[in-house]
Amino acid sequence: MNLAIRDVRRNKLRFALTALGIGMLLGVVIAMTGIYEGALTDALSLPRALRADLWVVQQHSFGPFAEPSRIPRDTRELIRRMPGVAAAGAVTFQTVQAMAGGKPVRLFLEGYEIGRPGGPPGLIAGHGLTESHYEIIVDASSKLKLGEVVPLGPYRDPYTVVGLTRGMVSSGGDPMAWVTLQDAQALQFAVPPPLERRERAAGRSPPTTTDINAVLVRLEPGASVAAAAQEIARWKHLAAVPEKAEESYLAQFVIQKMQQQLGMFMGILTTVSAVIIALIIYTLTMDKLRSIATLKLIGAPDRVIVWLIVQQALVLGASGYAIGLGLIEQVKGYFPRRVQIEPRDLAVLAVVVLVICLLGSLLGVRAALRIQPAEALAGG
């Protein structure tokens, strides 16, 4: 007969409330893993979608997402003419502020050359950029609508939304947007009209620049990434970062702090869950001292008693885990950023919960094993 289950059944409400409490804690832990995985996916979504083999950036730079990189525009032409290079595209990145539905929205804006690597992947609506000016493609998460006009830059230039992507955000979670390279450069370096007038009045031309942040390189099939990177590095002011390396830089530098932050928090929550499970199992055992003594008296082996306690810990852990997972599955859509629940993280957490339950029952088991069968007889 399964004593643990019978006891749970007889004390349904108490177990349900306890499992709910543990479930909420574990739910938060699951959410944390989901937030981290989501941030990682977000951060890598852009470099992955752009399908470059190499990122050419300023020397000693780890790439446009990890740190600033500024190189001359003609770099693109130099790279494109290299043997083994199939295509090269100049790109710029910057953050701009726009209004969507009356609310401010930050966009991570990429400038790219039409027809070259760097354009938006997989449009879900509309079309790619066709005009060299004042067209913009945005990610649907910005809440901007197709055909909407977005004023950008110091001159509030009217950009019309012509295309939408899905699931494309920066490592900071801002929706992506694309304009032509020329527009991007104008937006990045244009000065406000009063300053421009002052500069002209002083007989100086206002600062302009045609610099870019990186060149995206696609190689011919069969060409060696390493060899091409080495070749590019021969230009003293340039560095070439393979796509895989770029992804790992992003994961390392941009996401690492967040990982540590969430890791700490998850550690604390897990410890709290462990302490709560241990306490509850201990109290449950204390409440059953007389039953346990009676069981011993009528000849139950220690095995039966240990299993009774450990099983209750496992029942609590397992139902808490299920409740937590259920809760998060229900609410994950309401998070402002991507929450991505990975089977691998769930498996790790399941093992952690198992260990917590076993450790948590130690205290109760120790107390139970100390009980003497004679205690069942003592007193009324």
């Binding site: 019978r6 009676t294 009528i298 069968p373 007889l377």
Partner: protein, 231 residues
């Protein structure tokens, strides 16, 4: 048992609960144990029940040594499981099991398959005219709970049944009913039944009445001689 002594503690706080006890209880015999509070009745029951180990002496159950001079100890837990049935003043049923489950669990601990244990438990409760087989202990009256406890005590057909003041919380009619049951068990199951009691109204029901004082056996009488002779 022969020459059994038990003391608790040492030095000035030493308590001699049992001093040189000689006692023999036969199968089918219903023996009462009386005496003032603190004279060692419960301790004696615990020693016989393989719960408390005596400090000295020999004890045999079914002619097999449990404790002897060379201090051989048998597996006390197994002895409790297979040879001894306990009945307490309070019923001591497991509160999270139903009446049937409480009885069946004792059988399962002794290796009976769950389905069979359940059937036998229901049959046993029926034999005791106990109908609320699916009630939890908290839903049972004192007398009914005590019947379940007795059913549990004999679940594994023990050779010795030990009852510590089983009738104390019951009114006299129910007390008589419990003694009826115990007598029936002694006779029908050929078990040695040892009952601690203060209740003078049931003294006459025992085959033998053992009086204790200060850890020693003071007297043994046979109040029921005439009654058993009639039976």
């Amino acid at each position: 048992m022969h020459g059994i002594s038990t003391h608790f503690g040492a030095g000035p706080t030493r308590v001699d609960a049992l001093i040189d006890i000689d006692l023999r209880v036969d199968a089918g015999e219903l023996v009462g144990l009386r005496g003032p509070s603190g004279c060692g009745k419960s301790t004696l029951l615990n020693v016989i029940g393989c719960v408390t180990e005596p400090s000295e002496g020999e004890m045999r159950i079914d002619d097999e040594p449990v404790y002897d001079r060379r201090w051989l100890r048998r597996d006390l837990r197994r002895l409790r499981l297979t040879r001894i049935g306990f009945i307490f003043q309070t019923h001591n049923l497991l509160p999270f099991l139903t009446a049937t489950e409480n009885v069946a669990e004792a059988m399962e601990l002794n290796g009976v398959k769950p389905r069979e244990a359940r059937e036998r438990a229901i049959a046993l409760l029926d034999y005791f005219e106990m109908r609320q087989v699916n009630a939890y202990p908290s839903e049972l009256s004192g007398g009914m709970a005590q019947r379940v406890a007795i059913a549990r005590a004999i679940a594994n057909t023990p050779h010795i049944i030990l009852a510590d003041e089983p009738t104390a919380p019951l009114d006299s009619a129910r007390a008589q009913a419990v003694i009826d049951l115990l007598t029936r068990i002694a006779r029908e199951q050929r078990a040695a039944v040892l009952v601690v009691t203060h209740d003078a109204s049931i003294f006459h029901r025992f085959d033998r009445l053992v009086s204790m004082r200060d850890g020693r056996i003071e007297a043994q009488t046979t109040p029921a001689v005439s009654e058993t002779a009639n039976a």
